[in-house]
């Protein structure tokens, strides 16, 4: 990035002015928030951690068989928003979520909704690979077992195999299913976690910076995998890498300080952003 001294000096002033403007009135999202074929519909979602508001009036649809990328500078609330979609914020005592989040027309914020089947339908892959300290086989079999998805050992074996195959890991591990999952390389561990998520047949998969702990080759394999998974699943991915967002997603949502600033097709966002903040972020002025 060839920045002149002048540009660097100007930058913080711009940002502060924008920042102040947003604190006083919530930004209205630029672009089309709805999707023609939505799986999840979020309306006016607000999230607080104690007194800090992390998400402000975010409305966004996540469409069938699409990959939607959420980008934005650190602390903009994109991960927090992602964690709302399968109520993972329930595990944080200080977090409070308001607004409407619907999965296939059903309100998931409703306290009468059981999170157990919800999280089976909306799976999640985390930033850091987190395989359980168990064997590769047991890592995959964990989900089907707690949900009682299989009736026999043979069925379970088959489910483990198909899950690993879908995650593109089967060939590498089929001879050592009893080896500990923690002994795999970082990229393999992350694919193991994806396979683990696939094992309970989710409909939506949330990915929270799934490649940020991986090297470029492992990243490329996962990105390819995401593209394949799109045929069967709906995927929402949070990423710090704009190149990654451009490569894997069809729609992109740009978050800034808790606001959803702009959303649109990935092409539009990267080629002709409408909002000044989006443009600044895309062109590397800050973030």
């Amino acid at each position: 990035m060839n920045m002149t001294a002048e540009a660097i000096a100007v930058k913080p002033i711009n940002l502060t002015a924008d920042h102040l403007a947003q604190d006083q009135s919530t930004t209205i999202t630029v672009g089309e928030i709805s999707s023609p074929n939505p799986r999840m519909e979020c309306r006016d979602v607000n999230v607080w951690y104690n007194a800090n508001q992390a998400i402000k009036n975010v409305s966004l649809d996540i469409g069938q068989n699409e990959v939607i990328a959420m980008i934005g500078p650190s602390g903009c609330g994109k991960s927090t928003f992602l964690r709302c979609l399968n109520r993972m914020n329930d595990t944080i005592p200080a977090a409070r979520v308001e607004g409407s989040i619907q999965l296939d027309g059903q309100e998931i914020q409703d306290k009468s909704i059981d999170v157990v089947p919800l999280r089976a339908r909306v799976g999640m892959v985390f930033q850091k690979p987190n395989p359980f300290p168990k064997s590769i086989y047991e890592n995959i079999a964990y989900g089907p077992r707690i949900h009682g998805l299989t009736n026999s050992r043979a069925e379970l074996d088959e489910l483990v195999e198909t899950s690993l195959q879908r995650a593109g890991l089967w060939k590498e591990v089929k001879d050592r299913l009893d080896a500990p999952g923690t002994g795999l390389s970082g990229g393999q561990q992350q694919r193991l976690c994806i396979a683990r998520t696939l094992s309970v047949s989710p409909e939506v998969i949330l990915m929270d910076e799934p490649c940020s702990a991986l090297d470029p080759i492992a990243t490329a394999i996962i990105e390819e995998l995401i593209d394949e998974l799109r045929q069967q699943y709906t995927i929402a991915i949070v990423t710090h890498s704009m190149q990654q967002a451009a490569r894997v997603s069809q729609r992109t949502a740009y978050f800034h300080l808790g606001d959803l600033v702009e959303v649109g097709t990935t092409d539009d966002i990267f080629n002709q952003p409408k909002h000044k903040l989006t443009e600044d972020y895309i062109t590397g002025r800050f973030g």
Partner: protein
């Protein structure tokens, strides 16, 4: 002219030396503005001077304090007429020595001292005076020599910081070797006394004998003259009580740890943890009389009401109270281990739709298990070594039984009974205590080694 005054003077000299060394360093650098010409900060030259002034004289003082008494005594005894000391036993000799020292120190004696003792005391006093004067002179010389040495070595290129660092390391090594050598000394003294015991009683009888009756014949053909030193009843008693204790402590401690680590709201944890820690802070003697005066009679009464015969000093009562004592040990170690399981594993499990108890049972507990086992083993070695509760509540009869309602005795109880009161320290009876102590030490050592090994292995898993 006391050693403590001398110590104080040395410390004062060190402070002065620090000051002088610092000044000197600034001086050779050519003033406070020039100190970047020095290799190290001026303070390091000060420390260097202080260490040279203080350390040799402190070491001398320590050495002197250890040896002065012995050397002076030897010199005094050598002065005594030969016929006085020649045919004295070891005990009489030490009595004579203490008479001389007491007289020299001006302490009152119960009886009129003999002329020889008085002369010896006077001689001793004279020698003491000479020794003290010599010490002062030596310390003074060493302080000055140290200062002169440091003064001469203070040049801009002198690496004072590196020197001070290496001296600091040597001092630290000295102190840590004190701890290690003390432990070694205890182990060796127990070992040597045990060897003396095993010269009188074969180790096979001690380790495999089933009868414990530690007595020795004072005269031939005495009734009950044949003592028996079979330690098996003691070890089974110890194991029985420890087993009962763990039976109580492990489930209670573990489940409360799970509750505190995973379920408890912050406010509950804020007061529940300190309460558990208070439980750990109760002196064992308090647990002891709680066991003997409250729990044991209660158990006996309970047994009577359901038709069981429970002894008033039962293994059950001692074991239960010991279990209560160990609960905080198990729960706090387990809680640490459970908290050490990374949050990402919990998240991973919740994200698959697992409930909290499924997550705990299938992910957190297996991940924490090695650490929990390590904690439990540490608690077991604590239970085996516990003395006060069993002394008060378990009884003295060495019954070889697995019945928790009967009275049993433990290794630690027997060590206490063998060594309390007036004892001869060369009979098999008292030496048996050392053998028991050694065996107990070996058992707990093995348990601790296993526990530490498991805990370490567990740590590597996440780091």
């Amino acid at each position: 002219m006391s050693p403590s005054l001398l110590l104080f003077i040395i410390l004062a000299a060190m402070a002065l030396a620090y000051h002088l060394g610092r000044k000197r360093a600034i001086g050779v650098a050519g003033g406070i503005t020039q100190i970047n010409r020095l290799h190290s900060l001026p303070a390091y030259y000060g420390y260097y001077a202080a260490l040279w002034v203080g350390l040799p004289s402190l070491l001398l003082l320590l050495f002197w304090a250890g040896l002065q008494g012995q050397i002076l005594t030897a010199l005094t005894l050598a002065e005594l007429p030969l016929e006085t000391t020649a045919n004295l036993s070891e005990g009489q000799l030490s009595l004579l020595v203490s008479d001389i020292r007491n007289l020299a120190d001006g302490n009152l004696m119960g009886r009129e001292p003999s002329a020889e003792v008085e002369a010896a005391a006077a001689h001793y006093q004279r020698l003491q005076g000479i020794a003290t004067a010599t010490l002062w002179a030596l310390v003074g010389a060493m302080v000055l020599a140290g200062m002169a040495w440091a003064w001469q070595h203070t040049t801009p290129s002198f690496r004072a910081r590196n020197r001070v660092e290496s001296i600091a390391m040597i001092v630290l090594i000295l102190f840590s070797s004190i701890a290690i050598l003390t432990t070694l000394g205890i182990v060796l003294s127990v070992l040597f006394e045990s060897i003396r015991f095993f010269q009188q009683v074969p180790w096979t009888e001690f380790l495999f004998g089933t009868k414990w009756s530690p007595q020795i014949a004072l005269r031939a053909e005495q009734v009950g003259a044949s003592g028996a030193f079979g330690a098996i009843p003691l070890f089974t008693g110890t194991l029985l009580i420890s087993f009962i204790a763990m039976l109580l402590a492990v489930p209670v401690g573990l489940l409360s740890a799970v509750y505190l680590a995973e379920y408890a709201p912050r406010q509950v944890r804020a007061w529940a943890k300190p309460v558990l820690e208070i439980l750990a802070g109760i002196p064992t003697v308090v647990y002891g009389f709680f066991a003997a005066l409250t729990v044991a009679p209660f158990m006996r009464g309970l047994g009577e009401s359901v038709g069981l015969d429970i002894a008033s000093e039962s293994a059950l009562a001692a074991g239960l109270v010991m279990g209560i004592m160990i609960i905080p040990f198990v729960s706090s170690l387990s809680e640490d281990v459970i908290n050490a399981v990374p949050q990402s594993l919990r998240d991973g499990s919740y994200a698959l739709g697992a409930t909290q108890s499924e997550t705990i049972r299938r992910v957190i507990f297996p991940a924490a298990l090695p650490g929990i086992v390590g904690g439990v083993l540490l608690a077991v070695s604590r239970a085996i070594g516990e003395t006060m509760i069993v002394v008060m509540a378990a009884g003295l009869a060495a019954n070889l039984t697995a019945n928790p309602f009967e009275s049993v005795t433990t290794v630690t109880v027997q060590i206490v009974t063998l060594l309390t009161g007036d004892q001869e320290f060369d009979s098999a009876k008292t030496l048996a205590a050392f053998a028991l102590g050694l065996t107990l030490f070996v058992v707990t050592l093995i348990l601790n080694v296993i526990a530490l090994h498991i805990v370490r292995k567990y740590r590597e898993q996440y780091e």
